[in-house]
Structures are given as structure tokens and as C-alpha cells.
């Protein structure tokens, strides 16, 4: 099998190189660490450098492939690997871009954050392995690979949340995450088995084909689809399988929270998009007929509930990090609109808007959590009051945080404004007024709690007498880069959105 990439005829597995690069990086980290196996003896700089370069490489490769048209109709067309178990298309590359960029930012920031910790190599290795899993998730085209890839990304995540072993909160959060994750995985895998029972196939296109005629075991299929939906909801931190998220994000080291809430969520969504739009379009009534299992309505309900629960709970928090955790749940609700507001001929627009929102979110949310990492580093407390007057000592970081928060709220200071606007447009096109209304109400509410942080940083007078004595350069750099990209996505949104809309349209055939 050969494909034609930019004029070079190469083997088809080359299209998977972004994920392979991540996997290789993890191997290299193992090798480097085994040179000096004693904990804490490997050089932090070398480890962080390797992982940052690896993640950056995956990001750049995926971006280049996207530009070259790999996997897209204008280039090679979707590249099927291993009999369609994996697929490389516009959407998979787009999500590798998100995962790669978030991972690179997190790795860069971790250099300072991990300063003085033991088991650094393990940390970097776990993050890169989880990222590998996520990259594979974006290409997974069969329920079997979906499950394997999902577990590949989940298992390192459990360990990462509990990484600070001497911290009770961290360990507790890791354990809870693991237990909830185990339950969710069992729900997912049971759902997969039921779908297999109904369709006789695991490969997504084959499932769709099997289900396109009359389905015999409709009840089994229905239960299976709902269970798969909830199994994926765990990964995207959507209600009702979101319970782990606030605990894990709060307990985990802040860079890990950034990684999980941005990259892991994006990977969960790519699985949801691909599974439901490739395997179940006919069943859900997207082919034009009556829906057999109305999963579109189920997703609509989940979207509304997720937005509302996430934002309303976030409004009431005392700790900034926990507020961000809940807001992350709320954003999962926004993104679910891409799978819910499909009652329109222009489905590519709304799904593309969801993808773009995840891309912007990858930067603004990662940035916000990295800012928390920065305050952790300085030993500033975790509550809103502890942030009072912070701008006097760290104006640049606070300005960056302001950009993140306002962009998260959807103010026109960052790309979050336009992606939310497109989501709203998508709901209006589809006539999904319930989704539109909850998007607006929840965004308005979110402005309230995001501004509380901004107010604390810029307006309130500092109560304590703490002095910031050092400015960690790599952490700072990561925050500033994230802020710059968040801001730059406002004018540059139009440069990237066509590839998202194209990639999304492909899924609707």
C-alpha cells in the first residue's frame, strides 16, 4: 500500500507518523531514564527537552500533513490502515494538532513545575504515553481500537493524577479517578459488546453498513449505543460521567490538570464524533429516515445538562482551580452541541465549530491551568481571595490569565469568542432553540465567575505580604505562548477554520 504525500510515494503507515513520533518519544524517555535508573538522577532539562520536542514534532507533523492534504479529499483521501482499524483523515490530523500542541505546552511548563521532584522521568513518560493514546484515539476506526486507545490514554492518566504521592488530595483524586474510570470502561466495553451483538462487526464502517438495513436486535443495539455514549462521556467529562473531573483536576498537579482537561477531553470528543457519525448515522436518523435509536436527542439532553451543571456549580466555588474544573465540564457541554444540533443541511459547520472550539479551548484552558501551576509554584493560595492584587507582582501573567478567562467566557479578546459564535450559529441553523438558550444563559453566567478572578487580580487590594521571588522562565513562557495563541486565534480564526469545516463535512459523506 502506498500513498502519495507531496509528490513522494510512501508506505501508508507514514500517515500515522505523528502518533508514532509520540510513541517513539516515550521509548526514548525510557532509554534515557534507564541510563541513570535511580529516581531523580536523570536531568530534568534533558527529559523535558525530549518530551517537548517530541510533542512539538507530532504537532508540526500533523499540521504539515493537514496542510499537504494527507487523508483529505483534496489530497490522498482517507488513509485506511490495518483493514480499516485505523484511519488517517482531516479530523484525526486536526485532533493530533490539538493533542500535540497541548502536550508541548504542558511539557514546557512541567520543567519548572517538576523542579526538585523525584520520579521526573516517569512523569514525562506517562504524559507522552497518554498523548500517544490520544493520538491513536483520533485515528481509531473500530470499536476495538477505540477501546484499546482509550485505555492507553486513561491508565497513564490515573497514575499522573496521583503523581504527588505524599499529597493526600492527589492520591485520593487518583484513586477516585481510577474507580470511576474502571466503572466507565466496563460500561463502554459492555456497550461495545452489545453493538457487536447487534451488528456483527467492530469496524465502524462495517457497523454502519450492517445497521443500514433493518436491524433485528434493536433493543440490544439501543442499550449498546447509550452505553457507548456514556463510556465516551467519561472521557470528555460530560454529565453524568463527570464526577471524577472536579476531583481529579483539583487533586492533580496543575500541569496534569491542564493536560487532562484539554487534550484528554479533545481525544474523547474525537472518538465520540467518529463513532457516532461513522457507525450510527442511519440509526440516529441522520440518513433522513426515522431514528431507530434517537441518540441525537440523548446527546442534546446531555449537552444541556452538562452545560448547566458545569457552569452553575462553577459559579459557587471558592477555589479557582476547582472553578476551572467545573467550567471545563461546562465547556464539554458546549462542544457536545456539535453532535446535537444536526438537524440542518449544513452539519459540517456545527461540527467544525465544535472542533474549532476544542482547538481554541486547548490553548485557553491549558493556559489557565498553567497559570494555576504558576501560582502553585509561587505558593499563592488556591482561593479567589488569595489572588487579590496579584497583578501588582506579576502583571504579565495576570494579563495572560485575563485573556484566557475572558476568552473562555466568550468575550472578543480571544478565539473563544468566534468559536462560541459559530456554535451559536450552528444551533440557530438547526433550530435547536433549547441548546441556543442554554448556551447563552450559561455563557452569561460563566462571565460572572470568570470575572471574579479578574477582579481579584486587578481590582482588589492585596491582603497578604507575600513576595514573588522568582519567575520560572519555562512556565512563564508556556503561559505567554498560550495567551498569545489564544489572542491570535481571534484574527487568525479564519485561517484554520476551513480545515476544521472540511474535515467535519467529510464525516457526513
Amino acid at each position: 500500500m502506498v500513498v502519495d504525500i507531496a509528490g513522494y510515494r510512501v508506505a501508508d503507515w507514514v500517515a500515522m507518523t505523528p502518533a508514532l513520533v509520540l510513541g517513539l518519544t516515550a521509548m526514548v524517555l525510557f532509554i534515557v531514564d534507564s541510563i541513570e535508573p535511580r529516581p531523580g538522577s536523570s536531568s530534568n532539562a534533558v527529559l523535558a527537552g525530549i518530551s517537548t520536542v517530541g510533542a512539538l514534532g507530532a504537532f508540526l507533523l500533523a499540521g504539515t500533513f493537514l496542510v499537504l492534504g494527507v487523508g483529505q479529499p483534496r489530497g490522498t483521501g482517507a488513509v485506511d490502515l490495518f483493514n480499516g482499524q485505523l484511519v488517517v483523515d482531516g479530523m484525526s490530523l486536526f485532533f493530533v494538532v490539538i493533542v500535540g500542541s497541548v502536550t508541548a505546552l504542558v511539557m514546557l511548563a512541567s520543567y519548572d513545575y517538576l523542579d526538585g521532584e523525584s520520579y521526573q522521568a516517569e512523569y514525562y513518560g506517562l504524559v507522552i504515553m497518554a498523548a500517544t493514546g490520544m493520538a491513536v484515539m483520533s485515528s481509531a476506526n473500530s470499536l476495538a481500537t477505540v477501546f484499546v486507545a482509550l485505555e492507553l490514554s486513561s491508565l497513564p492518566s490515573y497514575a499522573l493524577v496521583a503523581f504527588v504521592k505524599e499529597n493526600r488530595g492527589s492520591v485520593e483524586a487518583g484513586l477516585k479517578y481510577f474507580l470511576v474510570g474502571a466503572l466507565s470502561s466496563s460500561v463502554l466495553v459492555y456497550g461495545i459488546s452489545l453493538v457487536y451483538a447487534a451488528s456483527g462487526s467492530l469496524q465502524l464502517n462495517a457497523v454502519a453498513e450492517a445497521l443500514s438495513g433493518s436491524v433485528e436486535l434493536v433493543g440490544v443495539l439501543g442499550i449498546g449505543i447509550i452505553m457507548v455514549l456514556l463510556g465516551v462521556a467519561f472521557k470528555t467529562a460530560s454529565v453524568p460521567f463527570h464526577f471524577w473531573a472536579p476531583e481529579a483536576y483539583e487533586g492533580a498537579p496543575a500541569p496534569v490538570s491542564a493536560f487532562l482537561s484539554s487534550a484528554s477531553k479533545a481525544a474523547g470528543f474525537v472518538v465520540a464524533f467518529r463513532v457516532f457519525l461513522t457507525a450510527f448515522p442511519e440509526v440516529g436518523g441522520l440518513g433522513g429516515g426515522e431514528p431507530v435509536v434517537d441518540w441525537v436527542t440523548a446527546v442534546t439532553v446531555l449537552a444541556v445538562v452538562t452545560m448547566t451543571v458545569g457552569n452553575f456549580a462553577a459559579a459557587n466555588q471558592e477555589k479557582v482551580k476547582r472553578m476551572l474544573a467545573y467550567s471545563s465540564v461546562g465547556h464539554a457541554g458546549y462542544v457536545l452541541i456539535g453532535l446535537a444540533a444536526l438537524n440542518t443541511p449544513d452539519r459540517g459547520l456545527v461540527l467544525g465549530a465544535s472542533m474549532m472550539h476544542l482547538l481554541v479551548y486547548g490553548f485557553m484552558n491549558t493556559g489557565a491551568f498553567l497559570f494555576i501551576a504558576l501560582t502553585d509554584y509561587w505558593g499563592v493560595g488556591r482561593t479567589f481571595q488569595d489572588f487579590n492584587g496579584l497583578s501588582e507582582q506579576a502583571p504579565l501573567a495576570c494579563a495572560a490569565m485575563t485573556v484566557f478567562l475572558f476568552s473562555l467566557a466568550g468575550l472578543p479578546i480571544g478565539g473563544g469568542f468566534i468559536s462560541k459564535l459559530y456554535l451559536l450559529l450552528g444551533t440557530v441553523n438547526a433550530g435547536a432553540w433549547l441548546l441556543a438558550a442554554s448556551l447563552i444563559v450559561n455563557s452569561a453566567l460563566s462571565l460572572f465567575y470568570y470575572s471574579r478572578v479578574v477582579k481579584a487580580m486587578w481590582i482588589e487590594d492585596s491582603a497578604g505580604e507575600f513576595e514573588i521571588d522568582s519567575y520560572p522562565s519555562s512556565l512563564y513562557a508556556a503561559v505567554v505562548i498560550a495567551a498569545f495563541v489564544t489572542f491570535a486565534l481571534l484574527p487568525a480564526f479564519g485561517l484554520l477554520s476551513p480545515s476544521a469545516f472540511d474535515a467535519a463535512s467529510v464525516l457526513f459523506g
Binding site: 466507565s184 447509550i226 464526577f243 476531583e247 451543571v309 456549580a313 459559579a315
Partner: protein
């Protein structure tokens, strides 16, 4: 070649520059910024005269100018409104530019004597204010659209606020400034709605059509004319009714600025400002702005009989009403303040009654003689060490002859004694009101006659209060020590007085319409100036000429002249004799009461009317009552509504949100088995909802 019209924007830009210079560099100048102001206004005057000569056709063939110079809001769609700044120069503009820059220059010079020589502090602020004031008024005068006019109208209002409140450390001036600002703002509020209405109706605010590369841009008075001809409807109103509504809204601003009843109350209080500022406000800038605006868009008002009737009635009533209040005032400047209100009433009367030329003529003569009177009063006030009470003066005639004779010239003009300026213009105002009142059918004619009657009666009072003021100030024996030994004034006071004194005596000669009509000599220059050439020229291009206005008045509201007593000449003579006789009667009564060595107060003879008049018909009181009795409770109710209902809803929403949030928060109990239970439960719920109830199973 660059002609005068290319420099028209500089007429306003020069005083603006003076404003900047005086503000930032004034304190380093020997005269604290007066130099910049004088140089700038002199430059403006020269440019204005050049412009006027150009309009007169003496320097070239181009005799008018109407261009859009700057677009500050470009409409995107075809129907979108584009907002521009532009310059319109026609004879009316040119005349007004000369008047304003002349008065401004004289006021600047006079200020050297009144402010610098008296050792006032804060002079850079003063001269900066004067500069900005002059600049705004000049720009207002040459505005070619109503929005630009509105903007500069507002700036004029702001500057008057700053200058009236110049002595802000005392009690009176800040409060007077606030009052002037608020009362005129009340009128401007309606003006603003009118501007928006005009833009919404016509999509343009141009006073006169502009020839642009893309074709002719029509003016809104012309569009209104067409709309009435074709009986269009706007917002459910007939064209004529709608034009009346728009006209009256804009008139709100005019009534406020030109101090017409019932918004005139700010003007007497504005006497708290420095006297040169009063001169500028009364003669050429602020108060004149209102009347000028009506004249500027006369083609629009001429379309609405109701608006004309309202203008004429407000004018006639204000003329009489203010004159009666002027009769009992004790202070020199107060008398002048009421005379200003009254005289602007005449101009409004003329405009309402179809006497466009008469109004512009009276605006011109009044600018000269009122500036003169105020500067004369300023001179007296310097001499009297800032005591303004006329009962403390007396006998100043021999000690300040220049002031006396020029002041007398101004007073004769104000009273309307032949051959001083005021006689000619006031006579024409009343004559026009009379003939149009008789000639116009129906209610409109009756309104004109009523307004005429009030205006005529006011002539008597004008003669009386003017000469009461002259006799009390300058004649008789000195009643105080200061009056016996007044402080001398210098050239910078006397020179402007002399210029204006000669002007007040002679400026009426520019339009001796009665003489023209009796003798057949063509000496009604102002009339010709505003009428333009018979064929072509600016009247064709701009439609702002007298001939066009007369046509409109004839066609739409059917305002026509008629001569009740014999022919035109007899009516003219009778009318002139009547007004002159009444004026002389007033003067003679004043002479018999106050022209004695030791005058005494005669106001007690008025009985109950005295209290009424000295309290200005209790208008301030009633306005205060309106504010405290009606507006404050209303505001309180609105506040209650805002605090209770609006804020209540907002607070309610937020507390409900926070409450719900805290409930949602409780779901997160921290116990992992609860989570597992909830997850399983919701899975079951979804299965029931979408699989069992969804009819799948």
C-alpha cells in the same frame, strides 16, 4: 487658484488654535493669551470679509460654496446614513461670519480692559474659553448639515457654561452656569430627537444641495418640499404634519438657546459671567445661534403653517413679556439681559411671520447695538468698581463722555428711534408681521396679528426701560461716592465702544426698506444680498434665497402680504409712525419719571404688579416647583422601580443561580461510591428514556 472659500474652515480653525495656545501657553504670555485670541479673531474677521466679498462677486465668478469635506461615518449599504462635515457658504453665512468675527474681535480687545487691567487671575482659561466659544460659533455658522450644526451648537452651549462659571469660586456664577447649561440642554434634547428624526426621514441632514462627483445630493428642506407636494406619509403621519413635528422638535433647541419663553430663565442669571462674555453671548454667539438656525433651515419651516404660527407667537409673546420684566430691574446688566430676550423675540416674530429679511436684519443690527450696550455697561461697571446697581450711579455723563455717547447711540438703537439701526430693523419686523397677518387667511393670519400686537406693545416698554436705564446711570446727580469719582477706563475699552457706537448709528442704513419703497431708490442692500441675482448664481444652486422662501410661503402655508391702510406706502408710513410713536412715548415717560436730578423709585405705583414683575412672573419659582414637585418624585419612583423591580429581578436571577449552583455542588459529595451509584442510576434513566420509552425495545 486658492480662493476665499478654501480658507473658510480656517475662519473657525484660527480661534480654535487660539484656544489651544491660550490654554497651554497663555500663562507665559504678557497678556495671558489675549494676544492669541486677538490675532486669531482678527484673522477670522479678515477671512470672513474676504469670503463676504467673494460671495458678493467682487473677487471672482464663484459666489457660493457647498462641499462635504470629511466623512466621519460612512454608511455601508445604499440606504445607510453617511455622516459628514462640510461647509456651506451663501450670503447668510457670509454675513453672519462677519458679524461673529467682528464682535469676537472687539470682545477680545475689550477684555484687555475688563479682565487684564482689573488684575483677574485664571486669564489663560478665560481666553481659551473665548477662543473655543468663537470657534464653535463660527463652525456652527458655516455647517452644511444639521448634525454638524448640532455638534457645534452643543459646543457653544458647553463654552457658555465654562465662561459664565468663570468665577467659579463665588456662589453665583457656578449655579448660573449650571442653570444655563441645564435649561438649554433641556431644549437641545428635543433638538437631538429632531436631528435623528430628520436623518431617519430623509437620510440626509444637508441644508442645501451638494454637487458631488456622483451626482447631486439633495437637501432635506427640498426633500420635504417634494414629499408635501406628493402627499407622502411618514410613520403614519401626513407629510405636512410630520414636517411640523420635526420642525417643532428642532425648535426646542432654538427656544432654549435663543432664550425664548419658556426656556429664557437661564439668560438673566447668566449675567453672573464676565461682562465681555455676556456681550459675546448676547450679541453674536450663543443666543444668536438659535435664531440663525431657524434662518438657516427656513426652507423647512416655511413648509409648515403650524410651526410658523408657533414661532411667531413665541416670538411676539417673549418680546412683550421680557420687556415688561425689564422695566423694574435695579441692575444695569439685568435690564440688558431682558432686553436681549425681548429683541430675540422680535427676530422669532419676524421669522414666524414670513419676514426672513427682517429677521436677519434685526439679527445684524441687534448684534451691533447689543454688543455696544454690554461693552458700555462693562465700562460703567469698571468705573463703578463692579457695582451694577443703577440706583448707586447717576451723573456719569460728564465723567465718561465716550461711554455715555456710545451708550446713548446703542440705547437709541435699542429703543428704535429713527435713524438709529434698531429703528429700521424693528420697523421692518413689525411691518412684515402686520402685512402678512392681514394678508394671510384663517387662523395663521390671526396668530400673526396677535403676535404683531404683542410686538407693537413691547416697543413702548422697550423705549421706557432703555431710557430709564440711561437716565438712572448717566443723568441726574451722582448718588454715591464711587459715582462721584469713577475709575477711568483706557483705550482698549473706548476703542471697541467707538467702533460699535458708530455702527449702531449707521448699520441700519444697509436696508432702509421704507425709504426704498417711498422714494424708489434701490438702497435695500440687505434685501438684495439675501435675494441674489434673478437668474442663475447661488439661488439656483442652493435654494436658500429669499425669492425661493417667498414662493414657499406663498405656495404651502399661503402666507401673503396685504396692505390694510391704503396702499403699500401708506401702510408703511402708518406702521413706522406707530412704532416710532410708541417708542418715543416710552422714552418720554422714562424722561418724565427718571430724567430729574434726584430720581426716586416709582415701582410702588405698580402695586401688586411690582412683585410679579420683580419676581419675573414667578417663573423661576414655578420651574423650581416643577423640578422639586414633579420631577423629583418621578425620579424617586423611577429609582424605586429600578432598585426594586429591575435590580430585584437581576438579584433574584443571580441568587437563584447561586442557589442552584450550591445544590449542584452538593451532588459532588466526595464519596466515590455515591458517584458510582449516581452514574449507574443515570445510565438506567437514559436507558429507560431512550430505549424503553423511545420504543426501541
Amino acid at each position: 487658484m486658492a480662493g476665499a472659500f478654501d480658507f473658510v474652515p480656517a475662519i473657525a480653525a484660527l480661534p480654535l488654535l487660539a484656544f489651544v495656545i491660550a490654554l497651554f501657553a497663555g500663562q507665559y504670555m504678557p497678556k495671558r493669551g489675549a494676544e492669541a485670541g486677538i490675532a486669531a479673531t482678527a484673522g477670522s474677521l479678515i477671512l470672513s470679509i474676504w469670503t463676504a466679498l467673494t460671495v458678493a462677486g467682487m473677487t471672482g465668478s464663484e459666489t457660493f460654496y457647498n462641499e462635504n469635506l470629511y466623512t466621519w461615518v460612512a454608511g455601508v449599504a445604499d440606504s445607510a446614513v453617511t455622516l459628514r462635515l462640510g461647509v456651506l457658504v451663501d450670503p447668510l453665512t457670509a454675513l453672519m461670519l462677519v458679524i461673529v468675527s467682528l464682535i469676537a474681535l472687539l470682545v477680545h480687545v475689550f477684555s484687555l480692559g475688563y479682565m487684564n487691567d482689573e488684575g483677574e487671575t485664571g486669564l489663560p482659561r478665560y481666553y481659551a474659553g473665548l477662543g473655543l466659544f468663537t470657534a464653535s460659533m463660527l463652525a456652527f455658522v458655516f455647517s452644511n448639515n444639521i448634525l454638524m450644526a448640532f455638534m457645534f451648537f452643543e459646543l457653544v452651549g458647553l463654552c457658555s457654561y465654562l465662561l459664565i462659571g468663570f468665577w467659579f469660586r463665588e456662589d453665583g456664577p457656578p449655579s448660573a452656569a449650571k442653570k444655563a447649561f441645564l435649561v438649554t440642554r433641556f431644549g437641545d434634547y428635543f433638538f437631538l430627537i429632531g436631528v435623528v428624526g430628520i436623518f431617519a426621514t430623509f437620510g440626509t441632514g444637508l441644508f442645501a444641495p451638494v454637487e458631488a462627483a456622483s451626482g447631486t445630493m439633495e437637501s432635506f428642506p427640498h426633500m420635504a418640499e417634494m414629499a408635501i407636494e406628493e402627499s407622502e406619509t411618514f410613520f403614519g403621519y401626513g407629510a405636512q404634519t410630520w414636517m411640523t413635528i420635526l420642525g417643532l422638535l428642532v425648535l426646542g433647541g432654538v427656544v432654549g438657546k435663543s432664550a425664548q419663553f419658556p426656556l429664557h430663565t437661564w439668560l438673566p442669571d447668566a449675567m453672573e459671567g464676565p461682562t465681555p462674555v455676556s456681550a459675546l453671548i448676547h450679541a453674536a454667539t450663543m443666543v444668536a445661534a438659535g435664531v440663525y438656525l431657524v434662518a438657516r433651515m427656513y426652507g423647512f419651516y416655511a413648509l409648515s403653517p403650524q410651526a410658523l404660527a408657533v414661532i411667531a407667537l413665541i416670538g411676539g409673546f417673549t418680546a412683550l413679556f421680557a420687556a415688561t420684566m425689564g422695566v423694574v430691574k435695579q441692575e444695569l446688566k439685568q435690564v440688558l439681559a431682558y432686553s436681549t430676550i425681548s429683541q430675540y423675540g422680535y427676530m422669532m416674530l419676524a421669522l414666524g411671520a414670513g419676514g426672513y429679511v427682517a429677521a436677519v436684519f434685526h439679527l445684524t443690527t441687534h448684534a451691533i447695538f447689543k454688543a455696544l450696550l454690554f461693552l458700555g455697561a462693562g465700562s460703567v461697571i469698571i468705573a463703578m468698581h463692579h457695582n451694577e446697581n443703577m440706583w448707586d450711579m447717576g451723573g456719569l455723563k460728564d465723567k465718561m463722555p465716550v461711554t455715555y455717547w456710545t451708550f446713548l447711540s446703542g440705547s437709541l438703537a435699542l429703543a428704535g428711534i429713527v435713524p438709529f439701526a434698531g429703528f429700521w430693523s424693528k420697523d421692518e419686523v413689525l411691518f412684515e408681521a402686520l402685512i402678512h397677518g392681514v394678508g394671510t387667511e384663517g387662523t395663521l393670519g390671526a396668530m400673526f396679528l396677535l403676535a404683531y400686537a404683542m410686538g407693537l406693545l413691547a416697543v413702548f416698554f422697550t423705549g421706557f426701560y432703555t431710557f430709564r436705564m440711561v437716565y438712572l446711570t448717566f443723568h441726574g446727580n451722582a448718588r454715591t461716592d464711587v459715582a462721584r469719582d469713577p475709575e477711568p477706563v483706557r483705550w482698549n475699552v473706548k476703542a471697541p465702544l467707538a467702533v460699535l457706537g458708530i455702527g449702531a448709528a449707521t448699520v441700519g442704513l444697509v436696508n432702509m426698506a421704507p425709504v426704498e419703497k417711498l422714494t424708489g431708490l434701490h438702497i435695500d442692500f440687505l434685501h438684495q444680498w439675501l435675494d441674489g441675482p434673478e437668474e442663475g448664481g447661488w439661488p439656483d444652486a442652493l435654494s436658500t434665497d429669499l425669492h425661493h422662501y417667498e414662493e414657499l410661503l406663498h405656495n404651502v402655508p399661503h402666507v401673503d402680504p396685504a396692505y390694510p391702510i391704503g396702499g403699500e406706502q401708506t401702510t408703511l408710513i402708518v406702521s413706522a409712525a406707530l412704532s416710532l410713536g410708541l417708542a418715543l412715548g416710552g422714552v418720554l415717560l422714562a424722561r418724565s419719571l427718571y430724567g430729574v436730578d434726584e430720581p426716586v423709585e416709582h415701582t410702588d405705583k405698580l402695586g401688586g404688579a411690582k412683585a410679579l414683575l420683580t419676581h419675573n412672573y414667578y417663573q423661576d419659582e414655578s420651574q423650581v416647583w416643577l423640578a422639586q414637585g414633579v420631577t423629583v418624585p418621578l425620579a424617586r419612583a423611577a429609582d424605586k422601580f429600578d432598585q426594586g423591580v429591575v435590580d430585584g429581578v437581576v438579584n433574584g436571577v443571580s441568587s437563584v443561580s447561586l442557589f442552584t449552583g450550591s445544590r449542584f455542588r452538593r451532588i459532588q459529595s466526595g464519596v466515590v461510591s455515591n458517584y458510582a451509584a449516581l452514574m449507574t442510576l443515570s445510565l438506567v434513566l437514559l436507558l429507560v428514556a431512550f430505549v424503553v420509552l423511545g420504543g426501541v425495545a
